[in-house]
């Protein structure tokens, strides 16, 4: 475990020594700014009818298409490099012949991706204190906290999935595409399946609804802290990290 810190520092440095991290961070800052602008806009329009009443806070993050599109694109970009680049450049050979255990490498790389993921979401959080104190819009803190927990556990799961795909290949693009595909199915395709299942009165509709990441996160944003979902995310994360360690520790065919 004592090597994790040194490995993590290098991974984070590698993010910031290339242009990609700044690019992604800037894009998220812009999206957070635009969404906040929208939020202020919609708050200044008095709502007259209950039928169109919606929670303005949910359109800020959890129901915002631009947020989801951005996170769908950014997360695979953050994780694709982690192991694939080491394999492509051959540095994996020197890395895995150091007196370092494979799980230390996996843990450090996953933590680095997680730190970057949190850094992406921070711009959204930065605006909230201003809204609360300066503008005097006293939104509920509970749902916001729930959303933070939900986005956090989703991030843990998806970075672990991304790291796993990055370990399977030496081509970053392939890793990114696989991660994106899984993420896209969970976020965008699953709700479509749910809608279809409901129309067909299929018995599996509820299962799809439970698994759809979009609905999970929206639930958190409404203040439903569903621990089953958190447990699901965390157990998938642990399983993926374990699988990654197994792939990395397999010395039979590395070439």
């Amino acid at each position: 475990m004592r090597h994790v810190q040194a490995l993590l520092t290098r991974e984070l440095a590698a993010y910031f020594l290339g242009p990609m991290a700044y690019f992604v961070l800037l894009a998220f800052q812009v999206i957070a700014f635009l969404n906040f602008w929208d939020l202020i806009d919609s708050l200044s329009i008095p709502q007259r009818e209950f039928s169109t009443l919606k929670d303005p806070m949910s359109s800020y993050i959890s129901s915002s298409p631009s947020f989801w599109i951005a996170i769908l694109a950014a997360l695979p970009v953050l994780t694709m490099r982690l192991m694939a680049e080491e394999r492509r450049s051959g540095t994996i050979e020197t890395l895995l012949t150091l007196p370092v255990r494979e799980y230390e490498v996996v843990l450090a790389k996953w933590l680095a991706a997680l730190v970057m993921y949190v850094a992406l979401l921070l711009p959204f959080a930065i605006y909230l204190p201003f809204l609360y104190r300066q503008a005097g819009f006293y939104f509920d803190l509970g749902p916001m906290l729930g959303l933070a927990i939900g986005l956090g556990s989703m991030g843990m799961m998806m970075t672990a999935v991304g790291l796993f795909f990055s370990t399977l290949t030496r081509n970053q693009i392939v890793a990114a595409i696989w991660t994106f595909a899984v993420f896209f199915v969970l976020v965008a395709i699953a709700p479509l399946f749910y809608v279809y299942a409901v129309r067909q009165h299929a018995p599996w509709a509820d299962a799809v609804r439970f698994l759809a990441l979009l609905y999970q996160v929206q639930g958190f944003a409404l203040g439903r802290l569903d621990l089953r979902v958190v447990a699901l995310h965390l157990s998938i994360a642990v399983f993926m990290l374990y699988a990654t360690t197994l792939v990395l520790a397999n010395r039979d065919n590395r070439a």
């Binding site: 290098r10 051959g90 370092v100």
Partner: protein, 316 residues
């Protein structure tokens, strides 16, 4: 220090390394030679615990590569073939980072990095970004990294490939210096390099060891080359009748000069006698030197023999 016993690595149906056995003792510098694809890199990768052998055993510094990989890694400094490094890091930063991962104690890290930097002459580029360094410097950074934790065993895969002649010389000198107190196993394609730094050669061809011999043994019998002015037949006669000379193995005419290759009897240096004999017979000498049976000849011989025998095996 390195014990390899019937080590085999199979990829599907291909046997990359087929039952290799050899050992390297303390204070030895051994050259691993062989044509491309012979299994040199695979053997080295198994010794550094990067790959697991399909069968057979290997121990490095008394530790089994399969049972105690972490202990082996602690004892081995490894320089892979294409010197993979992190291009975005600075040299000093990279070495510090590696020192931590190699468990160099905190109090000794500064000293350890400084010592490999001076040893590999990296002082000028310490603060430069690795990606911008020339091939020669990168090679030295790789070597410095391998030496950081002062390993007992060094495994170097083609340590001088891609270097210019001056750099090759520097790296060779460094290897000779390091070999005094360590065990070094290095692979190369440059035969003169083996002669310059190694005490022993192990030649691998198609996954098997075809030669394992110390350079001293190999150099056993010398050849004398002499070039003198005069009729070739007369020169042959003068040389053949000498008691020190077993036979004239080759005689060539070159204008009014004759070039003769002689096999002397026994181990004694017969050059002086040859010189005296020719000048006393009135043949002025233009060149006179002694050559040991070269590694190149032996290498070509064993590798061709292997190629022939494997072709015959496949013919069956």
């Amino acid at each position: 220090m390195i014990e390899v016993d019937r080590l085999t690595k199979r990829y599907g149906t291909i046997r990359a390394v087929a039952g290799v056995t050899f050992s390297v003792g303390k204070g030895e510098v051994v050259g691993l030679l062989g044509p491309n694809g012979a299994g040199k890199t695979t053997t080295m990768r198994m010794l550094t615990t990067y790959l697991a052998p399909t069968s057979g055993r290997a121990t490095v510094a008394g530790r089994d590569v399969l049972d105690e990989p972490l202990e082996v890694r602690r004892k081995v400094g490894y320089l892979p073939e294409n010197v993979p490094l992190y291009p975005e890091m600075r040299v000093r930063e990279y070495l510090r980072h590696r020192a931590v991962l190699k468990d160099v104690p905190r109090s000794r890290r500064r000293q350890a990095t400084a010592s490999v930097v001076s040893r590999c002459r990296l002082g000028d580029v310490e603060n430069r970004i690795i990606g911008q360094l020339s091939r020669g410097y990168r090679q030295r950074v790789g070597l410095a990294e391998a030496l950081l934790h002062d390993p007992e065993v060094l495994i170097l895969d083609e340590p001088t490939s891609g270097l210019d002649p001056l750099q090759i010389r520097e790296v060779r000198d460094l290897i000779v210096e390091l070999g005094e107190e360590r065990v070094i196993l290095l692979s190369t394609h440059i035969l003169s390099e083996v002669e310059a730094v190694c005490g022993r050669v192990v030649v691998i061809a198609s996954g098997r060891i075809v030669l394992d011999e110390s350079l001293e043994e190999m150099h056993g019998k010398p050849t004398i080359m002499v070039e003198a002015r005069g009729p070739a037949d007369a020169i042959r006669g003068a040389l053949e009748t000498m008691p020190e000379i077993e036979q004239v193995t080759r005689l060539e005419r070159d204008g009014e000069y004759a070039l003769a290759e002689l096999a002397p009897l026994g181990d004694a240096d017969a050059r002086e006698a040859v010189g005296l004999r020719l000048s006393s017979r009135g043949f002025p000498i233009r060149r006179l030197d002694q050559r040991r049976s070269s590694l190149e000849e032996r290498f070509t011989e064993v590798v061709t023999r292997d190629a022939l025998s494997s072709a015959r095996r496949e013919g069956h």
